[in-house]
Structures are given as C-alpha cells and as structure tokens.
Amino acid sequence: MEKKNSILKIENLSVSYGPIKALKNIDLYINEGEFVSLIGANGAGKTTLLKAVLGINTIERGNIFFLGKDITRKPTNVIVSSGLSLIPEGHIIFSSMSVLENLQLGAYQSLATFKENLEKIFEYFPILQKRSNQIAGTLSGGEQQMLSMGRALMSKPKLILVDEPSLGLAPKIVLDIFNILIELNKEGYTILLSEQNAKKALESSSRCYVMKTGEIAMSGPSLDLMNNPQIQQAYLGGC
C-alpha cells in the first residue's frame, strides 16, 4: 500500500533515446524504510529509470517527487545533495585516487559528520579500512563494488538506488553484497534495487516491480510474485 508521504513517487514517467521509447508511462512509489526491487531482462529500462530519477537522462514527460518535493529535471548534484544516492552498475570509482579519497568525495556534502560516517562505513566494509591508503584501481572487483557502495553511503542518503550490484562478481561476493544490503535496510535505509538476478532480488526485497520493454509489467509483494507462475516461468527458471 502506498503511504501518504512516500519517500519517492514517480508519476507517468516517459524517457526516449531519439526515436526509441525507453520508458513508457512509469508509475512507481517507495515508502520510507522499504526494500523495493526492480527486476526485468537486459534492456527492459531498469538503468534508464534509475538514471532518470538522478536527473542524468532527459525526461520527456512525467514527474518525480522525492520527499514530497518535485525533483523532475533538477541538476544531478542538487538531487544527490537532497539525499538520494545511486550506486551505479559496474562499480564506477575514481581508480587513480586512494580508497580514502573516494570516500571523502562521497562525503563532501556532510563533512561535519565525516569521521562518524567513515567509522560506520568501515564497520560495514572492514576491508575498506584495511585498504584505505591503497589506490582504488588496484582493488579487486568485489572490493571496488564495496567501495562504490561505501562512497554512496558516506553522504547519509535517505534513499539508495542500487544498480546491478552482482554484475560480474563471484557468487560468494554477490551473497556478501546482498547480505549487506539487507543489513542496511534493517538499519533504516530505504533501498531501490535494480537487478537481473530475479531470484536474489525477490528474496531480499519486500516489494517488487517487474519491467518489460520500458513498462511496468507487474508489481506487488515479493512473496506473491515469487509464487506467480508467470514470473516463475519468465524469470525464475520454472516451467
């Protein structure tokens, strides 16, 4: 059920890449404290949707409200400083800088609580503390993903958008990353997770949206969707 003051509300959102309609009339909401997932095949428009929320894509039609404020077509840095963080796909980090510098960049909008935040991040990701003076480009793929997550958390976001965190990582590390996401959610972080691995996404989230060729094909509590024969057939390898 949508609550009256949802943290994120997307109304009738459309985005085009030239003649190609990438997103068609998307409606989506997230309540505070929820763990919502977004599943769908490659090219369904998941990343496009997250980028549109962050103001990176040009929005054709529709509105996006964050904490009750209209953030449609606002510059990305304004959206980020209002408390929305994206952990991008493919662990995008500043690879020539040290781990610590990466975290400092993530925190520059909340410098007052920098030390406190940093300790918290090192609690979630002890490996980052061990490697804090190392150049980020020399980290392993999993460590880079953790750094990317740590950097996003440094700004104390009210909503975290996570794009394909499992991409290109070993199963063991994927498990770690999902556990950390669940942990973060328990501590009060609101999360929107976009993920191709539908099984993992449904297991960790409480509610789910299914995207298909730029549209929301289905949505509901993750448990219901997991038992839905259509979903089982299309995304969970059932027959």
Binding site: T76, N77, S81, S85, L86, I92, S96, A152
Partner: protein, 291 residues
Amino acid sequence: MEIFIAQLISGLSLGSIYVLLVTGFNLMLLVAKIIQFAYPQIVVISMYTCWWALKITSNKLLIIIAGITVSVALSLLSEPIFRKISSIKDVDINATFIASMGIAMIMMDVMSHSFNYGFPVAFPPKWIGGNILSFGLITISKGQLFALVGGVIAVSVFFYLLYRTNQGRFFRAIAENRLAAELVGIPITKTSIFSYFIVGILGGFSAILFSMLIGSASPWLGEFVALKMLAVSIVAGLGNLHGGLVCGLLLGIIEAIAVGYISGSWSNVIAFVIMLAVILIKPEGLFGTKI
C-alpha cells in the same frame, strides 16, 4: 662547463614558464574539457597590462594585481563561449580547439592593431632589474631568478590545491570520471567555472614572470608560445599534469642548451622535431594521455 651551467639555469627559468602554461592548458583540458589554444594570448595581453600599469605606477603589487585581474577576467569571459560550444549536440572537443584558435587570432589582431601601435613593448629596467650574480660567463639576471622561484612557488601552490583540498579533489574527480563525479553530487558547471578562474590566476602569474624573464612582449609572442605549450602537452601526454611538469622544464633546458652551443635560431626546430618524433613513436606521449 660554465656555459652549460649558465644555460641550464636560463633553461630552468624558461622551462618554469612552460610548466605554468602547460599546467593551465592541461587543467582546462581535464576539467572544462576544452582545448584552450588562446591561453597564451591571454597571458600576453596580461603582459601588456603590466606594461601599461608600469607607466602609471611603480608599485609592484598594484602592477601584479592588474596583470592577474585582466588574465582572470579574460579567462572567465571565455567560459560562456566554450560552454555554449560544448553543449551543442554531437560536437566534440575539437570544436573548442577551432574556436579557441579563432579567439587567439582575434586577440592577436587586436594587439597588433591597437596596443602600442602594434610595436613590441620593452619593460623598463625598474621592472626586471639587472643581474644578481655574474662571474665569468655565468650571469643570473633577476628576471631569471624570479621566473624560476616564482614558477616553483606557483606550481607548488597549484599542486597543493589539487591534491590537498576539496576543490582540487573535485578537479581530479571530474578529470577522471565525469559520470561518477556527477553521481557523488559534485557541481560540475560550478567546478568548471572555478577551473577557468584558477587558470586565469596561473596565466597572470605566467605573464608577470615571463615579462621579468624576457623583458618584452609583442603581438606574435602568444602564438609562438601556444605552439610550444601544445607541443609540451602532446609530448608529455595530453592532460598529464606530472608529465607536463617534467617536459616543460626539459623543453626549457633543451632550448637553452641549443642556444648556448648551436644557435638560437635552431631551438624551435629542435623542439618541434622532438615533438614529431614522439608523436610518431609514442603517440600517447611519454607519460601517457589522461583524457
């Protein structure tokens, strides 16, 4: 040996000017994402400003402020033009190169028509002073010393800013990964405008030190220096700040040695032959491109 030491010192002071120029040029390349070929013209106009200011006052601080102010103003004035060009769809960085060449030409023509009737200007002795040291063949002029010391200080301050402050971290973040920089909430446009400001200050300093070193300015000086600046940046690797530092100093030394042992008129040929050789053998530059 004395000739060598003398030329080494003069090469280092000339080199420190190249370093300042190429550092500003590289910063524009990395943060504002433009090829600022007109940068040395801004420096030369700033030199003219110092020359005019010298006619009015002999207060060195005022003259320095005047030179830096004009350089910063010109650099900031060019910002909206470049931003407009860069925002055009399907236009790449080369468009800014053409545009800045155009701006450079306009500046040069304005100088050759209206500044001191187009004649070169010479700075009075009260600005550059004489020799500080001279024994045998070795003489060090005040101008050389100022250029060298001033260059070292300016570059040190710049690198401190780049590596130890938040603004510097923003610069490096945008240079390395624009998308990631945007995602952590760095104000891209504001930071880019700030880079024009910093480059303006660097340009003003270059102008003051350059005028002390060579003691004159002419409308054609800018283009001449611009080619050298571009050559240094390419040889070092486009956008490579550390490489620019090394190659800028090296070019100064090589030129000075050529002047000392062969003939001054060959120094340009040597510089550009080296550039061609590097482009052919190591197209990404000696230290690697960063863009």
